[in-house]
Symmetry: C2
Subunit: 347 residues, 2 copies
């Protein structure tokens, strides 16, 4: 579960000792962060810009399984997942707060690893950790992250701006995080049945990494800005492509045509899904946790985007009455249905 570096009980430090220990190396770097950790609230300065706020809760046994999720990766992922929401508004992420609940099974060394992953993510994405809360928990590990960012009002992309004729685009490739999870679950079950068998993840780095160490697409937001494209709507893919497309169509009061053959799926995702007897398209549509960006752009922006290897055009927006349709490789039209992330059904 965590690397073996000895075991220091958190009780020895107490709450304030723990907070001091974990936060003493944290530096404030953004000029928008006026005051970080150490007071009742953090103080931020977004003069002239709009403030963006998003909150996520990650619970042990629901959102992550420490049997195969190293704590450093978990810390990294927890930050990514939340920054992704700020990028999905076409904003700049600048701060995070971190609330952690810890049961007594976690020694200080474990919490340090979690924080290390968070700190690496914050540094990589240029985000300040400005505050939080630390508590004991009876329920294992609980992580609550609030991410904060900013944008000029004219740049903000909502979910409700898609117009008829707009092109439906997605960054990166889809389904990898889901099939990576299936692989990790299988190896965990084999290990539980026979602890002498080591996990066989040989050659599966890409999809395992998609699950354990996703990257929020800050780069896509920057590339769009460079290309002078403002998406008419945008959302991040946390719950699977189907669910996110329906959010955009519902809020924009539009329909869409999505072409199965255009959905970007990595060959390793494709082959591993086949090995598991799962349709790769289903992984992309309903899998979730890819943290890619789904967005719509005007047709007039087509020339700017068409040669970008990191962006795929997967369909277009139609009038609401036409419905939300998936056109299969065989040319059959299916209605897109919400599947969504199953975290509410898992208990």
């Amino acid at each position: 579960m965590f690397e073996n570096k000895g075991r220091t009980e958190i009780e020895q430090l107490g709450e304030f000792g723990l907070i001091d220990h974990l936060t003493k190396h944290i530096e404030i770097k953004n000029k928008t962060s006026v005051k970080g950790i150490g007071d009742d609230a953090a103080v931020l300065n977004f003069e002239g810009k709009k403030t963006l706020i998003s909150t996520d809760l990650l619970l042990e046994g629901i959102h992550f399984d420490l049997a195969y999720m190293p704590l450093k990766h978990l810390g990294y992922k927890a930050i990514q997942v939340n920054l992704s929401d700020i990028y999905a508004m076409n904003g700049t992420a600048s701060q995070v707060t971190v609330a952690i609940g810890l049961s007594s099974k976690f020694p200080l060394e474990a919490v340090e690893e979690l924080y290390q992953g968070m700190t690496i993510a914050c540094e990589k994405y240029g985000v300040d950790l400005i505050g939080g809360d630390t508590s004991s928990s009876k329920q294992g590990l609980i992580i609550g992250i609030t991410s904060i960012g900013y944008a000029d009002e004219k740049d903000i992309c909502y979910r409700d701006g898609a117009q008829e004729g707009d092109l439906l685009c997605v960054s990166g490739d889809l389904g990898g995080a889901y099939i990576g999870l299936q692989l990790l679950e299988r190896e965990k079950n084999i290990f539980l049945e026979n602890p002498n068998i080591q996990p066989d993840l040989e050659g599966k780095d890409y999809i395992v990494e998609r699950q354990l160490k996703p990257e929020a697409r800050k780069d896509i937001v920057e590339v769009l800005k460079l290309m002078k494209i403002k998406p008419t709507s945008m959302i991040d893919i946390s719950d699977g492509l189907s669910s996110e497309i329906l959010h955009i169509c519902k809020q924009s009061k539009k329909g869409c045509n999505l072409y199965e053959e255009k959905i970007p799926i990595d060959p390793m995702t494709y082959d591993t899904a086949r090995d598991f007897g799962i349709d790769p398209t289903v992984c992309a549509l309903n899998g979730g946790e890819d943290y890619e960006l789904l967005f719509t752009i005007k047709q007039s922006d087509f020339e700017k985007i068409k040669n970008n290897p990191d962006i795929s055009i997967i369909g277009h927006i139609t009038e609401a009455a036409a419905g939300c349709n998936l056109i299969s490789k065989a040319g059959i039209v299916h209605e897109i249905k919400a599947q969504g992330w199953t975290s509410l059904k898992s208990n």
Copy 2:
């Protein structure tokens, strides 16, 4: 645990159905809230003001016990506790986000009660609920709240601004929330031993309410503004007077003299503490959860404040070398020690 209104399983609604159901009546009222629930992030506008952010995590079995905490009160308290941090910066609270983890023991009706309490608190304090996250949980109820507010830079009160000679002030009275908790715990234990015995809280409304339904001191922030007093430092009392005084002294690099006889304690708190064989002063110093404001003001502001029945002057700030001292009623000098909130030790 919650009023009997039938039982609707949350699974029937699904995550998005639950969010829609709970949030459909939520209206945005503050002009600083540009966009609330329904996108990847909320959008806020604090043009010309600084943004204040604070996060708290409340966990079942650690921070609250549903045996005596009605869910509506819990929702109300969860919001209060967090707004209190914004007021402690001398700011105006304007928004909250709410992240909730729910185990399957909670039907929809229970979550509705929790939300009802939150909504009542938001309305009373003029705060918009602008977003959040909802998830299943394997064990019990998890509540993560982030509160957001704003202030002019010149008005913000940090913990580190106390100066030698400043008067140490506190709002309201202290120790009530702690002794209220002792009373509720006693009645719970009697009930567990003999379920036929009903709780005897007769005439104890005030201290029970201090525990179950605290009020963040927005009114004190407003009164100070009216009196043209800017505290030189301020903090809210969540962990007990001792702990908070030490925060101010440590961060301001100062000492203090605190006079036991000046600490405001309500007669019911005093008498009930005596009944329990607890020193009432200890309840005030180490009890926590009073959510009053502790602040320092310049001596020149004494005349403005001296007749305010809701503010007590309990001591003064000294040079650091003099240490942090409690002068007892008998005139004996004790060093003030951090006790702090025990939520990290309870597991």
